[in-house]
Amino acid sequence: MKFIISRYNPEIDQEPHEQTFELDNALLSSDSMLLDALHLLREQDSSLAYRSSCQEGVCGSDGINVNGKNRLSCVTSLSELGQTVTLRPLPGLPIIKDLIIDMTLFYKQYKAVKPYLETIPLDIEHEHLQTPEERAKLDGAYECIMCGCCSTSCPSFWWNPDQFAGPAALLAAKRFVVDSRDIKHIDRLKELDSPTQTFRCRHIQNCTDACPKGLSPSRAIQELKSIMVKDL
């Protein structure tokens, strides 16, 4: 297989460039994942840099742009990629090295939506009661692994990563807006009510298409907008 990989070493390079690697098919099996191939490529060139950790799609470290689509390398089967694979860092954020991006802005936007439950003081004898129906509202929102595949596929986030929360952060915002245990419902909605925040989303659904966990940030943002109209 052939891999065309975007390389960038800030200590040497002015800008990123492409490097082509060949990998002997004999080293791969039918169920190899892209991350397995990256590990083998690193054996060829130990300076090849990419993030990875859990290797099973739950830690969210290894988002990269694969043949033009943002994906997690550990859950992307090589068999679906063809004989030539082009790998680039997730687009729209600064590159640190090779396939590693600086996600500072992404995390900053996450933090800015106050993604934490605010609730009544703890009663050690009782948990909050929450019906299965109320709990079900969190499904599709709490599972986010913060890999950044969605936000870095979003043009609104590309243009204004310092202003627009982006799909991942808005998905997190929605998760707390719909949590029956949260007591800051209205405050949250007010803070999200800005043309540069929630309403900068145009629902082109790149986020939903990119999400490796099958979540739909676009739909979540739509629901967030509806809740704002209803509750504010």
């Binding site: 070493n9 800030p10 200590e11 040497i12 169920d31 994942m33 690193r42 054996e43 130990s46 300076s47 840099a49 993030r51 990875s52 950790s53 859990c54 290797q55 099973e56 799609g57 739950v58 830690c59 969210g60 470290s61 859950v75 089967s77 640190i96 090295k97 090779d98 590693i100 996600m103 995390y107 933090k111 106050k114 993604p115 934490y116 439950l117 605010e118 609730t119 703890l122 009663d123 050690i124 004898e125 009782h126 948990e127 909050h128 009661l129 929450q130 019906t131 299965p132 109320e134 709990r135 969190l138 709490y142 599972e143 692994i145 913060m146 707390f176 949590d179 245990r181």
Partner: protein
């Protein structure tokens, strides 16, 4: 260039190394108590391996079946094959209900029962009334409980404004002139710069070291960095012979298939279609303790009843479980099975085989979370300023075998407890950090990796790591005996010799992952030694340590913890604590399920 003994210094009231559930829970407490702390993590916090925990966290809430912390304590002691310290287990089980409700208040999206309470599922080794009916004690957020807990703890830390040093690697502990632990040298992975973080209180929460085995459920970051640091500082590791092999890893690959699958009714079957756990644990069958199930699978495969062309795995069948239960309670398992096996478990059984999952041993601590080491008279003394929690620590609440659902409990209980210990100490003695630190050993270590390879040498850090993993898997797997372990020890010596020679080829500073894996490899090899040396010494079978040549548990000689020191691979021992404070001692007895 070489490193000299000068690095920029920052000082803190306390340092937390590792941003998994344990580190994050203690950082939360310390920040809340108003201390200036730094949370150091080699990955962004939510990438820590707690995120991969699936099944749940144990607490005797009694939401589904009647329950008491005493029963939970009994099950845990029995599960530990009586090697767990009973005072620590008692403490953990007593704290459990409160700490789970606290987690719920932090925002953990637990699954719910119809009455609105937290959903609890059945897990292996859980019983009501000291060994009778199956209990439902594991509080679950679908099959993503670790993810839910880790993210909620991170979120609460964001709320309080904890200081994070993300993508910083802790290289080594630093001692001052008085030989006290007083700081840590860290490397910023982003630019390769080193700095000293100085503090009188250093809390290790660096997680496990499953990467020492080839087939494991662990993240690639689980390289036992805290353990290596402690060994190099001259302190021991405890019970390193006890590694939990999770019965149900994806065969050949190792991804975890949660015990929750069996908790929800999944059945293990061999090539003949037999639900074989009936033979090994007639009463509780598939919900026996993990060591028992792992051994049963290994025996089935060894005796030729494995499945597939190579007869090297068994089947985990959930096709009889209603679809909506799978969708609601086991969605992550379905996803993993589809991604890595191309199998939809609703229709076809999952291919599973035991895989290295959890390190019961670790850095010896007391209930307060202080690291302890024997003095000249053999008495366990706390090491001033050093603490350990979570998988890297050995309190010991898991003894020779951990029960499913107890590790998420362990991390939050002792995470909070140890933060309180540090808080109390800080209130009594304000931090003093003016003492000079001894940097010579760590500078030598850094400079060692600046050497260039000799002409013609082709060995690499990656290759040595692969070989180490293979040696450990063959030499110290589910079943062990003297000759294979002796062979492994010889092979480890060869690997150690290669480590001393090998050089890296990348000398850049930004995200130099080869240098990082070299540091990690040093830790892994020390852990390999600790494991094999401890396992060779323990001439009995207990919990996860199953010896073919010593098949019985030997309480007369071995009801004690192993302590391994790096210096000359020395071993000493310490007694198991059999004196809980609020409950009668649970007497060791034969362990049947």
């Amino acid at each position: 260039m070489t490193f000299t003994e000068y690095f920029p210094i920052e000082t803190f009231d306390a340092l937390v190394i590792g941003a998994g559930g344990a580190g994050m829970r203690s950082a939360l407490q310390l920040t809340e108590d108003g201390h200036k702390i730094a949370m150091i993590s080699k990955v962004f916090p939510t990438r820590s391996h707690t995120v991969a925990a699936q099944g749940g966290v144990n607490a005797a809430l009694g939401n589904v079946t009647p329950d008491k912390w005493e029963w939970h304590m009994y099950d845990t002691i029995k599960g530990s094959d009586f090697l767990g310290d009973q005072d620590a287990i008692e403490f953990m089980c007593r704290e459990a209900s409160e700490i789970v409700r606290e987690l719920e208040h932090f925002g953990v999206p637990f699954s719910r029962l119809d009455n609105g309470k937290i959903y609890q599922r059945a897990f292996g080794g859980q019983s009501q009334n000291y060994g009778e009916e199956q209990a439902h004690r594991t509080c679950a957020a679908a099959d993503r409980t670790g993810h839910a807990i880790l993210h909620s703890l991170y979120q609460q830390n964001l709320r309080l404004g904890t200081t994070f040093y993300d993508e910083f690697y802790a290289v080594d502990l630093l001692k001052n002139q008085d030989e006290e632990i007083n700081g840590v040298l860290v490397m910023n992975i982003h630019n390769g710069e080193y700095k000293i973080l100085q503090s009188p209180h250093i809390l290790l929460a660096t997680g496990g070291a499953g990467q020492v085995f080839r087939n494991n459920t662990n993240a690639s970051i689980n390289t036992g960095d805290g353990l290596g640091m402690v060994l190099r500082a001259g302190y021991p590791l405890q019970d390193m012979e006890f590694w939990q092999f999770h019965p149900t890893g994806v065969s050949g690959k190792g991804m975890l298939i949660s015990e929750a699958v069996r908790g929800e009714g999944g059945k293990l079957r061999n090539a003949l279609g037999e639900a074989f756990m009936e033979k090994y644990a007639p009463r509780v069958k598939d919900l026996a303790s993990r060591d028992v199930v792992a051994r049963a699978i290994a025996i089935e495969v060894n005796e030729g009843r494995g499945c597939g062309p190579d007869k090297d795995y068994v089947l985990l069948d959930i096709s009889h479980i209603p679809n909506e239960i799978i969708t609601e309670r086991l969605p992550g398992i379905r996803e993993i099975s589809q991604t890595f096996l191309g199998i939809d478990p609703v229709k076809e059984p999952i291919h599973v085989y035991p895989t290295c999952h959890y390190m019961m041993g670790g850095i010896p601590t007391n209930i307060e979370g202080q690291v302890v080491s024997p003095d000249q008279d053999g008495n366990q003394q706390p090491i001033k300023g050093l603490y350990a929690i979570g998988e890297c620590a050995c309190v010991s609440v898991h003894g020779a075998n951990r029960l499913g659902g107890n590790s998420l409990l362990d991390i939050v209980v002792f995470g909070r407890k140890t933060a309180r210990t540090i808080h109390e100490t800080l209130q009594k003695e304000p931090p003093q950090t003016e003492l000079k630190l001894n940097l010579t050993p760590v500078v030598n270590r850094l400079n060692r990796w600046l050497k260039k390879a000799e002409e013609g040498s082709t060995d690499t850090v990656t290759q040595i790591k692969k070989d180490l993993q293979l040696v450990m898997e063959r030499g110290c797997g589910v079943f062990r005996d003297e000759p294979t372990m002796q062979k492994a020890l010889v092979e480890l010596d060869a690997i150690q010799a290669r480590l001393e020679k090998v050089c890296i080829s990348d000398f850049s500073n930004v995200f130099n992952l080869e240098r990082l894996s070299a540091y990690e490899l040093e830790n892994l090899i020390t852990i390999g030694y600790a494991t094999v040396v401890s396992a060779l010494a323990r001439t009995e079978s207990r919990g996860a340590h199953s010896r073919v040549d010593y098949t019985e548990r030997d309480d007369d000689n071995w009801l004690k913890h192993t302590l391994y020191f790096q210096d000359n691979h020395k071993l000493t021992f310490k007694p198991v604590n059999l004196s809980p404070k609020h409950h009668a001692m649970v007497k060791p007895k034969p362990r049947v399920y």
